[in-house]
Homo-oligomer: 395 residues x 3
């Protein structure tokens, strides 16, 4: 692809991304989202054509993972490294935070030579996103008072509300699969609950998907068994977005009904909203027994819906029997990673490589979030990278 042409397509507008944290996609304008996708594509194309987009000669990209991660951890590390930053993990176990140190202090202490802080905090409902904002306020304060030479940008690597790097990578995947964002208008996307033998999966992926995909005129169906609601405020946002973008949004309680004629299906398990609320209370109280009891109840409840598996029979009902299957991975694959799960082995295998492509956009989405946060005029910077033409690998 012609990188120069891609750069020329980037609108020279004020996207509102400059020096703003990327915490929730629904806080960003549509043009901001388009810009992140465009910059991601450009950085990806540069990497493929052996042009190094390194813009930092030094600097740290701090990561704070309050939950396990593979994909996002490596995506963040890759993005930082591509731009020239070194990842420094803030391992709360090895730090002095246990001393009762305050967030406002720690945020500054790790940021003297830091350009970005990536945070995953998705365990406690009502907390993850709040924590990121607390960190942000502390950084604002530190920067305003001359403690920090730059205000490090925050990248939300998954919270209780949204998983914006995932949702944006998913959107970029759709853009590539369907040719353009415009081609997504009117396409039917089904975000469906699916059965999993595990428990307590965060809500951030389904919420992120309906919150973002509803911005582009798509026909969204959210499907789940009764009781498996998402956070109501976020469902309202999705409804509002759909109306505004000329799309549609509806909720149904049957996977079979949902997938009829679907262009895109995203079958994925999650825990019901009210269970996550209860779980948050128990986690905070450190009530191990209560948590075990809750887990048993939930697994029993889940087990009623084993027929919420995406498989050949479901697939047959979709558009041309070939809806694009999506997943944030790892999926619970029946007969592969569990006995019965979210998706049949045969069906997953059919779309497996596509899910890998989907995942492959995440490093570039994160790099684009960093890039647009950092540069007021990203177009100029991209042009100068292209002119400079440093090679990523010498050969």
């Amino acid at each position: 692809m012609d990188i120069k042409k891609l750069i020329d397509e980037v609108e020279q507008i004020n996207s509102g991304l400059y020096q703003k944290d990327f915490l929730l996609t629904w806080e960003k304008s549509e043009s901001a989202l388009r810009r992140v996708l465009q910059v991601a594509d450009i950085l990806r194309e540069m990497r493929m054509q052996n042009i190094s987009p390194k813009v930092f000669d030094s600097g740290l990209a701090v990561s704070i993972f309050r939950d396990n991660s593979t994909r996002t951890r490596f995506s963040y590390a890759s993005a930082a490294n591509l731009l020239g930053l070194e990842v420094q993990d803030m391992d709360e176990q090895k730090s002095q935070i246990a001393h009762g140190e305050t967030v406002r202090e720690t945020a500054n202490m790790i940021s003297f030579l830091t350009d970005f802080i990536g945070i995953r905090d998705d365990m406690f409902l009502g907390e993850g996103n709040k924590y990121m904002r607390e960190v942000g306020e502390a950084l604002d304060d530190g920067f305003a008072k001359g403690v920090l030479p730059v205000r490090p940008g925050i990248v939300n690597l998954q919270c209780d509300m949204d998983h914006p790097t995932q949702a944006m990578a998913d959107l970029l995947h759709l853009k590539h699969e369907f040719g353009s964002l415009e081609n997504l208008r009117g396409k039917k996307l089904v975000m469906s609950w699916a059965y999993s033998p595990s428990y307590g999966k965060p809500l951030s992926v389904p919420q992120g998907i309906i919150g973002l995909m509803s911005r582009f005129g798509m026909d969204i169906t959210l499907a789940y068994p009764e009781g498996y609601e998402l956070i109501p405020e976020i469902v309202d946002i999705a409804k509002h977005n759909a109306r505004n973008s000329g799309g549609n949004f509806k909720i149904v309680n049957s996977m079979k009904d949902a997938v009829q004629g679907a262009d895109i299906v995203y079958p994925k398990s999650w825990a019901p909203f009210h269970i996550m609320q209860e779980r948050t209370k128990l986690l905070k109280a450190g009530d191990k027994q209560g948590l075990d009891a809750l887990e048993q109840t939930c697994l029993a409840e889940n087990a009623k819906y084993k027929d919420w598996e995406y498989n050949e029979n479901m697939q047959k009902l979709t558009k041309d029997k070939d809806a694009l299957y999506m997943h944030c991975l790892p999926a619970d694959i029946s007969g592969v990673s569990c006995k019965e799960g979210e998706v049949a082995g045969k069906t997953f295998e059919q779309y497996r490589i596509k899910t890998y492509h989907e995942a492959g956009f995440k490093p570039y989405i994160i790099a684009a979030m960093m890039f647009t946060n950092r540069f007021e005029y990203p177009v100029q910077v991209l042009k100068s990278i292209l002119e400079r033409a440093n090679k990523r690998v010498l050969y």
Copy 2:
């Protein structure tokens, strides 16, 4: 600030820093200390003016943390990264050291392409500094015998005796607050014990402060409740330094008496010297019961001195009721990180941002220690960095 001017101010003397480990400030000449401060200021100013002082194209900066750390860990990582080195943490849990490997061997094994080793080892009295010297001797041997292409420099990131990166960052903070090192002459600095609900805090910070600040003609008062002595040899060094530099050094047993007319106060908890000796014995013996008993005794002893809190009443007694409050952080802040602690919440808040500024000098102090260890003629190297004028961030 004019960087060229700052560089011109650096004396072209033999500071004795070249290829010498930085283990104790009192082993360094006054001109060496001045030079580290100057180079730190220059590197800091370069970073602020978007000039990259990267002098290594590759190389490792190993870190060995035998105790928790946030500030120092990030400071070391930042310093290494600024100069172009990659931090590689030596996690003794994941290594083969448990096999009974010797220090002289490990020191060489991790150093084949290593430029610096930063070590924190502050748990055992009589051990941390000794361990650093053992590592140093092993490196000397390896270098002399052609095992190592360069002799990696050692940076003391806190030991049982001194915390030189902290004390030097504190001194640089004072230089900025008071305008120059010369302006510190005659200023009254109080290093005072303060109450903490925790136990076993190392002695290295108070020792580092009295050992260093006594070099610059200051009027030092060390204050603690009877029984909370520091290592006697180090107190002797401070006395000697004070005499030599035309300053003063005295010990009192009342915080109230101590802070009268003070220009600078540094209220911080520590464990009594003899307790640390006993604790070291118990730790070595792995005597869990003995340690628990000792902790109880100590906490009970500590609790007698809850009035050693730095607060409004204390502050009133200081020079213009506004002595500069210092702390290495995190502080035990009454009503914030604990019920009753080293400093009143309101008082801490008043100087909070200043303590952040204080902490912010540490990365540059470490970078300056590395820089002056590595280059025989740092002035020339700094000049060539300035002429080269590589940008840290491309824009």
Copy 3:
């Protein structure tokens, strides 16, 4: 040394190394092995002469350590850093692999911007090397299907069969000690079992040594007490290699007999093959009791052979009483790291620095494996590095 001359000595042949994983030395042609040694020497010489061979402007070198490591961990990090890659450790504890994620998936997920994956997996007989191949197939698939922009190379950092970075570093050490590979023809090398108070040491080092050294016309003696057999197939490979290269290979059951007139001795403990098989079964079954019982039996069995210590008496029997002593380190040194072990304290001390030199080749061997995997025409790339003449340290 004249680097230009070293480069000119590298044959311009198709070595078969380009884009091939380095998993077992016996899968590589002799010319391939020679090339790796030559490139390692050139990269080492460049580093010594302050020429930076950085060929990557960004990119990750992932490491997966399923067993403890110090030397190899730092060697891999050093090699990656020297060439411009950033190490990102894949800590399986902090990842989502526990979810039942498949190898083929994880391999791709960590590789979107990755150039190399280094793997240590030496705990389970019949598994480590197999796992590396599984990862390799997944990467082939991902690359073929456009998921990965490049096919990351795999470096075997020790498996159940071979320890190629160790054996190749050992061979490079021998090349330096004896002047050339040609000078190794006819030299007697003894790979001998030795007593250790520990249990379950992998077979990969002795297997790696006999598998590799038998390629160069050496006279190899493998010595162990009856019952301490290695994997039979690998012993067959060594026999075959010896015949092919005009060397010799024999097995004896006495260290004393073995070391007669030896030029080189490599005394090192390992667990018997059949014990490792049994241990693998128990480990897989999670049979803690069985493992403890097996350990007791083995230690008792080991204890019968305490006279398998390499010491002054053994040394006397070697060529000129001065056979080159080798070890992969850390050694079990009698009176130093254990009461009774593989080697007498005095004897080890005599050759200690030489073993450090031996270890010092490993970073360059790994870098050379990466370099020859990545570049089809390494000679041209080396020449352009030399012409470019970037300094590693600015001064």
